[in-house]
């Protein structure tokens, strides 16, 4: 089973990279970009075909390694 984990910075955590991207978009003439937040996309291929098991494994992986929950949120999608 394929899965996709999206890791993003929590609200309230400054994202200087997002700010730099926003600045670059502005300098390219893209008006009206109010905010940019950059995150990470992690694609995984799991041995299991059981969705509940996959969900549980991925949650554990996110909590233990894939995200730093001090500063980041994560979202799990099974594909």
């Amino acid at each position: 089973m394929k899965a996709r984990v999206t890791v993003t910075l929590k609200h309230g955590v400054l994202d200087p990279q997002g700010k730099a991207i926003q600045g670059a978009l502005k300098s390219l003439g893209f008006a009206g970009v109010d905010d940019v937040r950059q995150g990470k996309l992690i694609e995984l291929e799991l041995a299991t075909a059981d969705r509940a098991e996959a969900q549980a494994q991925l949650t554990d992986m996110c909590e233990k390694l894939l995200a730093n929950t001090v500063i980041e949120n994560y979202r799990i999608e099974l594909i």
Binding site: A20, L65, L66, N68, V70
Partner: protein
């Protein structure tokens, strides 16, 4: 005083750290490879700076899940000392031994220069050789030293005097201009609640002999030797 220095792939300041321990305490530290699962019987374990695992995923994230880490946790839980510098600080926050996180410098630039630090707590095992409020020189070299913690954690750190070092100007003032990375409240180094684990972004191990241009970093190692 007996010490050990952890070595992870991509770490590059382990010899500087070992040299500082040797020069100041006269005892050669034991280098411990990350795949080990036991630590030697030592007073201090240092987690040095560098770029463990190329900073993949997050700085210090992979190193913080190494086979040696449970032994490091046990060492800290026993009340023995742990010193994390630069990438070592990032690794300690990733293990949860220290609160908060180190984020990309607000400038988005890697900053390599000398800064001033104010010793805000000289009553720790790491800083007893300094005077309270003393301003010291210290080199920094990092791209992700922007300390972040949520407001509750910050209140706890401040309330318990656990902010040990802050970036300051030559007069000891905490200003935006003196803050090299955007760290909240100019925080450069903190200790855990028990006071036996210190993490700091600056490199005291690189200012321990005249050839390096100063001796301001020796105090950390002298303090640890006293505490042992």
């Amino acid at each position: 005083m007996k010490s050990a220095v952890l070595v992870f792939p991509g770490i590059n300041r382990e010899r500087d750290m070992a040299r500082a321990f040797r020069e100041v305490t006269g005892v050669e530290p034991i280098m411990v490879w990350h795949t080990e699962t036991e630590l030697p019987d030592v007073d201090v374990v240092a987690v040095p700076g560098g770029f463990s695992y190329g900073d993949y995923l997050r700085c210090g994230a992979i190193a913080a899940r190494s086979p040696i880490i449970p032994a490091l946790r046990a060492h800290a839980a026993a009340g023995r000392h742990v010193l994390g510098v630069c990438n070592g600080f990032q690794i300690l926050t990733e293990t949860g031994l220290l609160p908060g996180a180190l984020m990309r410098n607000a400038s988005l630039r890697f900053v390599c220069k000398e800064v001033r630090l104010r010793v805000d707590n000289a009553a720790t095992a790491f800083t007893s050789a300094y005077a309270p409020g003393q301003v010291i020189r210290c080199p920094i070299a990092h791209g992700e030293g922007n300390y972040f913690a949520d407001p509750e954690t910050l209140a706890e750190l401040e309330g318990e005097g656990r902010v040990v070092f802050r970036y300051c100007d030559a007069e000891g003032r905490i200003t935006e201009a003196a803050n090299p990375n955007g760290a909240v409240d100019g925080i450069a180094g903190i200790v855990n609640a028990a006071g036996n684990v210190l993490g700091m972004m600056p490199h005291p191990e690189n200012l321990i002999e005249a050839l390096q241009g100063g001796l301001d970093g020796r105090g950390i190692f002298e303090s640890l030797a006293r505490a042992a």
